[in-house]
């Protein structure tokens, strides 16, 4: 990545997080609403489902990172990194569950796993590239 590209990504990362939250939060909130009985529905993951727990954790970390990313604080970068670690755990869990049903080869070729792998690889690359641009936390 060039310096200009790093700078552009760092400046626009908070807005990218906002867009991702706008896309990812409503389905999770809807599933939560079904779980607590506010909305009628069936087939949604329960609150204690590992997929649900990791999804809520991921979104919470992203929300916590947002104000810090706007101020270019290192803590924001770390929170965003942790949110990706949670997604990694979620993907591992997904592979574990699907492998028991479909076998490892079919699971690794599945759309959900391929999308997660590409997303994680891109996020890891971008986060490592922009790391120097986040200053140390203010005392």
């Amino acid at each position: 990545m060039t310096d200009a590209a790093r700078e552009w990504v760092t400046r626009n990362l908070p807005w990218a997080v906002v867009v991702l939250l706008a896309l990812w939060m409503p389905p999770v909130l809807y599933a939560l609403a079904v779980d607590v009985g506010v909305v009628k529905g069936t087939g949604y993951p329960a609150l204690i489902d590992p997929m649900m727990v990791t999804a809520v954790s991921e979104l919470s970390l992203m929300i916590a990172a947002l104000p810090r990313l706007l101020n270019r604080e290192a803590a924001g970068w770390h929170l965003l990194l942790w949110s990706r670690v949670v997604v990694l755990a979620q993907t591992v869990w997904l592979i574990f569950v699907y492998t028991r049903l479909d076998g490892l080869a079919a699971t690794l070729r599945s759309r959900a796993v391929v999308e997660a792998a590409i997303g994680l690889a891109v996020a890891a690359y971008v986060l490592m590239q922009i790391r120097p641009l986040y200053q140390r936390d203010r005392a």
Binding site: W8, R11, L23, P26, P27, Y30, A31, V39, G41, G43
Partner: protein
Amino acid sequence: MLNRLSRSNPPGRLVELLACISQRWWLAASLVAAAYGVRTTDLDEFRKLSAAPFVMNLAPQYQFLYGSPLTFFLGSYYRHHGIDELTAFFLVHGLGVVLFFVALRAALHRVYREEDRSLAAIVMLSSPLLLVVLFWFGKADPYLLAAFFLLKTTDAPFTRVILSAIMVAAHRELAAAVLLADLCLDARPWRAVALGVALGESALFVYTNFMLSSAPASRGAYAAGNAVGLWQIFRAHPLLHLIATFGPFWIYVLTRRSFRLSQAGVFAAALVLAAGTYDFTRVFTIVSIPVVFGITRDAVEDINRTGGIMVARRRFPAEALWVLMLIQVHLVGTKLLWAHGLDLTVGL
């Protein structure tokens, strides 16, 4: 503020109340929203299109909607992640309205000093802009307008490419018209915008011609089929159409000392384009938004200098200008839309 209001005399209290609202444009916008209400549109089409965006399942007269796929793809995403169709409809378009106001605020922050921002918003929202958002809840207009406002806040070429492409995805014809109008009025670097439009148009071409089960009827075909009827409406009520263009914003247009030729040209082009459409005020307002943006800047300067606007040798104070926002008119075919579903049909 409330303590101050209660201590003052009644006329003084009124002036203070007017001034209080004029300093908070969002409060004035909320009053307009409460007074006029919200109208939904294209709900059935949203249901069908978001369920299967790659299958041609709309009647020919609605197939032009495939040229504005942004909201339908967002709806499709939410529906495929377990959200029901009605919630997805309100979610997608509600987020669009939120984005519209966030982008408007960002544009105001970029262009105006802190003390002028509320006044600028009040002047700008005296045009039918707010009713375009409220009365067409179901269209992708808030996304298109938000992307345009954000375009005004950035000089970064890559960001401008993305925003221009988003505008095209929201409405391919209106986006091209708005960006062309802006190009005529604002001499900023245009290459990034042109690239964004080209990318957006290419993506839409691939979508409509190769990814859809069959190519949809275009907006051009729809407009051509209705051109005679629309022209008859325009010819029967030219003054009404003229009033329905800027609405109360006309007061800022007419009280200006000068009017640039390029602004007049964009106004005329927007008028011709809108006259060829059923939703006259909506189309005019969107296409002429660069003109509204420019006139607002001049109007704010004038108001700051004189403390208000001069109408028939009387000064209309700046504190009361937000009241103009409440006097709106919205023309759709032969219908005048008014507050909370009240419509008036004009004869031919």
